[in-house]
């Protein structure tokens, strides 16, 4: 294990220095290289608990001198106060504050000035892209934004790990989600940002929730609603992908390929029309779902872990969650697919203290931090060790996500997908009021989704 880290570290170091060599020699160095006196102090300064690997090089590699112990070098090279800005979601503030204090305590020789701001993971991109340079040094974001963030140069590539092995300690889906073109750009924080089915087990039996048609039938009998945000590209994907139609990002990283209008597409569209026709499966946004679950009108919904609390409160012992059901398209049962979602932590390449920002990002995504995050907020860890704890396994929402994982795909889609897909959902959920031919409807949607980007 340790050897592997070291190997990756050295390999990436070589690669990076090569890159640096090719990058042109006229570069203006931002920070001075580690100076000689630093060489004597490192081992004592490196916090043992946080950097077990950091000690490894000294012990194992005979050629290793101080230069191979980056953390010690960094501490020695840091003389001024380290100013860092961190963004975490509103709900994550208390926990993050605690983690930041622990981080500061782990490096007692360095003076930190860390400010914590509130920025929701789901909208982090909007604020960051407006002005990358003004964005936080370390920020949390949902993995659907990684493509745009990388394109905008807002994410520092994770070329080396210092305190744990990001690529191997996290579940492979999360690492894949943080990787673009074979390069790792972020640190996985949670593995629970996908969606699945919540339901009230006093209304539905376990066999009911296997099929969406059956669920609609049962809910209709009970005069209750099933909610799903159909007029949203993220969710409507579940139907089309489930029926085997394709949507993916092209190699250029901008445009999409989409076959929703191919054979079978109209069956899916018809299925959505049929399912929503009885007004039992309703198109509803996340905020409305929260109130409607609490009011008792909605007894099942397609949503993610962030609604688990609301549902658990409203349904009490009857609170249950499972994978998404099947739906009938063109006479055959299709398992609804989904986007697997992850929350990631990224480092801003424009950060003035990029080394510390990376260490902090590692700290905030370490096994201990992920466990703490689960304990405090019930968020599913991306860390393999943290995720395998019995407490995590017993959480119904996380178990449902795990069950859905087999049908989930990582989210890789270009910006032109959202508006047309949203509108397709809106038209289908409102019963295709203009009576547009379904094939034509899908053709227009696909044209919009696959439109070229200048």
């Amino acid at each position: 294990m340790k050897k592997k880290v070291l190997a990756t570290l050295l390999a990436t170091a070589l690669a990076a220095s090569c890159l640096a060599g090719c990058g042109g020699s006229g570069d203006a160095a931002q920070t001075p290289a580690a100076d000689a006196p630093a060489a004597e102090t490192p081992a004592a300064d490196a916090p043992a608990a946080d950097a077990p690997e950091a000690e490894a090089p000294a012990a194992e590699a005979p050629a290793a001198d101080a230069a191979a112990d980056p953390i010690a070098n960094l501490i020695a090279a840091t003389t001024d106060t380290v100013t860092l800005k961190v963004w975490a979601s509103e709900e994550d503030q208390d926990l993050t504050t605690k983690l930041l204090d622990e981080f500061k305590a782990a490096y007692p020789d360095v003076t930190f000035d860390i400010t914590l701001g509130a920025e929701s993971e789901s909208t982090a991109k909007d604020t960051i892209l407006t002005d990358v340079e003004a964005a936080a040094d370390v920020f949390a974001f949902a993995d659907d934004q990684i493509n745009e963030l990388v394109k905008a140069g807002a994410l520092q590539e994770v070329v080396a790990n210092y305190t744990y092995d990001v690529a191997n300690d996290n579940v492979s889906g999360a690492v894949e989600a943080a990787t673009i073109d074979g390069k790792l750009y972020a640190y996985p924080m949670t593995a629970d940002n996908g969606y699945f089915m919540f339901y009230d087990s006093s209304v539905f039996s376990e066999s009911d929730v296997q099929s969406l048609e059956k669920m609609v039938e049962v809910a209709q009998a009970a005069n209750k609603k099933i909610a799903m945000d159909i007029s949203n590209g993220w969710y409507i994907y579940a139907f089309f992908q489930g029926a085997g139609l394709d949507l993916k990002l092209n190699d250029d990283g901008l445009t999409n390929t989409c076959t929703w209008n191919a054979a079978g597409g109209t069956d899916v569209a018809q299925a959505i029309l049929d399912l929503t026709a009885s007004n039992v499966l309703v198109d509803m946004g996340d905020e409305d779902m929260a109130t409607q679950i609490a009011e008792g009108n909605v007894v099942a919904c397609v949503n993610g872990t962030w609604r688990a609390e609301t549902a658990a409160e409203a349904w009490g012992d009857n609170y249950a969650a499972t994978k998404l059901p099947t739906f009938k398209a063109g006479g055959k049962d299709c398992q609804m697919s989904s986007y697997s979602g992850y929350k990631l932590i990224g480092v801003n390449p424009h950060s003035a203290n990029i080394g510390w920002a990376m260490l902090l990002a590692e700290y905030l995504t370490s096994e201990a931090a992920q466990t703490a995050r689960f304990e405090a907020r019930g968020l599913g860890p991306a860390n393999v060790a943290a995720a395998s704890s019995p407490a995590v396994q017993a959480n119904p929402a996380i178990a449902a996500l795990a069950a859905q994982a087999a049908y989930a795909t990582p989210q890789r889609v270009g910006g032109n997908f959202w508006s047309p897909a949203e509108t397709l959902g809106q038209i289908l959920a409102s019963g295709n009021p203009d009576g547009t031919d379904l094939q034509e409807l899908l053709d227009t949607t696909v044209e919009g989704i696959t439109a070229p980007v200048e």
Binding site: T115, G117, T123, T127, A134, A290
Partner: protein, 280 residues
């Protein structure tokens, strides 16, 4: 008899209209006392009443609700904004109303057109201009955003100054007073109502703006915000279910001082906007 029926009808219609106009405000008010934090969609009046939302605003500051700080921030920004704006507006209005110089009318037309240009259109450019001066994420920057272009909004004030008789300043001029002296000693005191209007209306700007504030104060740190961004933020997707009634409480709290100022201002507003033309 018919008269009484008519009168009753008339007042019933007014009552109905007033109810329509006040229902949302009433909803704001009662929801601010709701024990349920989200949006109550089945009952108009809360099922449980509490003062907790107000307590949360004032006494339980956290990284999301920093109401006291927001209030102070906005107050400081508003005070400086209204001082600077008023001075600029008075300078321009006086120049356009009382002084004669070549190109005056062209300048006036140009300013009026420029003033019609909504700031939203060019806010990104404004952001980066202020960023080059390192004024983003600072309250000084906000004051500049709100007040620097204020000179363009001179029309109402100029209309009012047009009605101040020129004989007063003529007399002063004959006595050898400088233009500056006439401005400070004669025009300013006589323009009191319109100055009150200008002061209050520019004071109110920072309390209602969230577009520029959100763009400029983008650190994500709640203590930097103004009341408008703070409240706007509470209705964000992930927040609304837990903060709606707190939002209502916050809305009620800022509405009180603003309503009072507004009621004072509206008197002068009517005078200002109709003053010049009516007396003619």
């Amino acid at each position: 008899m018919k008269k009484t029926v008519n009168s009753i009808l008339r007042h019933l219609v007014l009552l109905l209209l007033a109810v329509i106009w006040l229902i949302p405000i009433l909803w704001l008010f009662v929801t601010s006392f709701s024990g349920y934090k989200g949006i109550n969609t089945s009952h108009f009046f809360p099922e449980t009443w509490t003062l907790d939302n107000y307590a949360q605003l004032f006494f339980r500051s956290d990284s999301i609700v920093q109401y006291n700080r927001w209030f102070v921030n906005t107050l400081v920004i508003a005070i400086f904004t209204c001082l600077i704006s008023t001075i600029l507006v008075l300078m321009v209005s006086y120049t356009m109303s009382k002084l004669r110089f070549p190109g005056r009318k062209q300048l006036m037309s140009f300013s009026i057109i420029l003033n019609m240009f909504p700031g939203v259109l060019s806010m990104i450019a404004i952001y980066f201009i202020l960023k080059t001066f390192n004024l983003t994420n600072s309250h000084i920057g906000m004051i500049i955003v709100y007040s620097a272009g204020a000179g363009l909004g001179f029309l109402i004030c100029k209309g009012f100054m047009d009605t101040i008789s020129v004989s007063l300043s003529e007399a002063a001029r004959l006595e050898g007073a400088s233009e500056a002296k006439i401005f400070f000693r004669i025009i300013i005191p006589l323009s009191k109502p319109i100055i009150v209007y200008t002061v209050i209306s520019s004071f109110l700007v920072p309390w209602g703006d969230f577009v520029f504030a959100k763009l400029m104060l983008n650190s994500g740190i709640a203590t930097d915000w103004t009341v408008a961004i703070g409240l706007f933020n509470m209705l964000g997707k992930s927040m609304i279910a837990k903060y709606f009634s707190v939002f209502c409480a916050g809305g009620v709290v800022i509405s009180v001082p603003i309503s009072i100022l507004f009621l004072i201002m509206q008197k002068f507003y009517v005078e200002g906007i109709t003053g010049g033309s009516v007396k003619g």
